[in-house]
């Protein structure tokens, strides 16, 4: 069959192997079982082969069942679109979908989005990002929807400590890397996302909550200062011409003390 097809066996060997394997699998008929019983009773080599094959099959049967990652079912369900839903999502004449397909309207939306983003940048620039640090920031900050589920899930880290809890999820779509951050803390906490020297640049941030929660980008790190419950969506873009990024560094601080350091893995992405 191929290179792994081992040495040729005599017909007798083949017959013995067939009988032994069928018996091991419980798929042997009465006549064949009798033939095998006779062989086992009279041949030491058949008994040895039987023991060896049973040992191999026992080892295979005893391989433990692996529990899938907890996020898997949730991720699958979020991405699945059933046929009826898909039909419903298709554009029909006269519905909103066909309107949005009109070029002139799309251009209008783009202009409106640009105005909103500009306002976002102004608000952010006049607030939490310290003067002089804005040079480290390349991108825009809007403030509308959060928790983007777009793209392939690369990694997720759950946080559980006495001082705060939450999770950080990393997704990718083309060369864009999106971090969905959900944090909850009793007091002041901070999450620092380090992307300097990792082939990534800051693109944008979304957070619908009030201005007391701040996002700042300083020297290749995003700082999320948090108090209470807060969600963020942060976008990073791959720097053209650099090696494919491998990971993002995360540091969690509570009351100015480093509580946890983690890495979100990127490199196992199949989009490499």
């Amino acid at each position: 069959m191929n290179e792994q097809n081992h040495t040729a066996r005599t017909p007798v060997d083949q017959r013995i192997l067939q009988l032994l394997n069928s018996s091991i699998d419980g798929e042997i008929n009465v006549v064949d079982q009798q033939e095998l019983d006779h062989l086992l009773a009279t041949s030491q080599s058949t008994r040895d082969l039987n023991d060896e094959l049973r040992e191999v099959t026992r080892a295979l049967d005893e391989l433990p069942e692996i529990i899938p990652p907890k996020y898997l079912q949730d991720t699958i369900e979020r991405q699945v679109r059933l046929p009826v839903e898909n039909k419903g999502a298709e554009n029909k004449p006269g519905d909103f979908g066909s309107w949005i397909n009109a070029n002139w309207l799309r251009t209008g939306f783009a202009v409106a989005a640009g105005v909103l983003l500009t306002v976002g940048v102004y608000e952010m620039g006049s607030g939490p990002i310290p003067a002089g640090d804005s040079a480290s920031m390349s991108g825009t900050i809007g403030s509308n929807s959060v928790n983007s589920q777009k793209g392939e899930l690369l990694d997720r880290i759950n946080l559980e400590s006495e001082l705060f809890s939450g999770q950080v999820e990393l997704r990718t779509h083309n060369d864009l890397f999106t971090l969905n951050v959900e944090l909850e803390s009793d007091g002041a906490s901070e999450l620092v996302i380090k992307f300097a020297g990792r082939g990534l640049e800051f693109e944008s941030a979304d957070s619908p909550q009030d201005a007391a929660d701040t996002v700042s980008v300083i020297d290749g790190s995003i700082h999320l200062a948090n108090n209470g419950e807060q969600n963020y969506v942060l976008n990073l873009r791959r720097v053209p011409g650099t090696d494919y990024p491998e990971s993002l560094g995360l540091e969690f601080f509570a009351n100015s003390q480093l509580i946890q350091q983690s890495e979100l893995r990127i490199s196992h992405s199949k989009s490499k």
Partner: protein
């Protein structure tokens, strides 16, 4: 396996019932993940493959022929997707799947872990045809006939591949043991 229930759930999916979809994912994600894991040899690839399998299953569920068993159809997609991933796979990570029984003492647990690693390593040395039948037989618990249905092969070929694969595994494990 659960033919009637599967058929009802598939019909539910066809009429847009997301709870039916959720139940099918819940029912099959573990066996699909385990089969993918044993073919691919690492968790990340297995999770990617499992995700893709279910997206394909529900994308094409209207094409599923209910004359055949649903699980055979799902497994066929799972095997094909896992083998696709093998082709574009990254470097293999060391396996660490020796999930010892909680009743085992530390020494026994260590032994179990070592044996599991050896067996999985031997499994990864087999070619795809052999590894696939071994996984379907020993991990998924399929009969010769079911494996034939999934892989669309005659039972005779299934048996021949399985028997040869076991012989190769036996030799591989014996050689490894002799080295140590």
């Amino acid at each position: 396996m659960h033919k009637d229930r599967d058929a009802a759930l598939v019909n539910g999916c066809l009429s847009g019932d997301r709870r039916a979809m959720s139940q099918l994912v819940s029912q099959y994600q573990r066996p699909v993940f385990n089969a993918a894991y044993r073919i691919l040899g690492n968790m990340d690839d297995a999770a990617d493959a499992t995700q893709t399998v279910f997206l394909k299953v529900f994308e094409h569920i209207a094409d599923y022929d209910q004359k055949h068993k649903f699980f055979s159809w799902v497994y066929r997609i799972a095997i094909n997707e896992s083998l696709n991933q093998v082709k574009k796979r990254r470097t293999q990570e060391p396996l660490d799947d020796g999930q010892a029984s909680p009743r085992q003492g530390p020494a026994e647990a260590l032994d179990t872990k070592r044996i599991c690693k050896r067996v999985q390593a031997a499994l990864m040395l087999l070619n795809n045809d052999y590894r696939t039948v071994v996984v379907l037989k020993h991990i998924s618990g399929c009969s010769y006939q079911q494996i034939g249905e999934i892989l669309q092969l005659p039972e005779k070929t299934v048996k021949s591949r399985l028997y040869s694969a076991r012989q190769l595994l036996k030799k591989s494990l014996q050689a490894e043991e002799a080295e140590n």
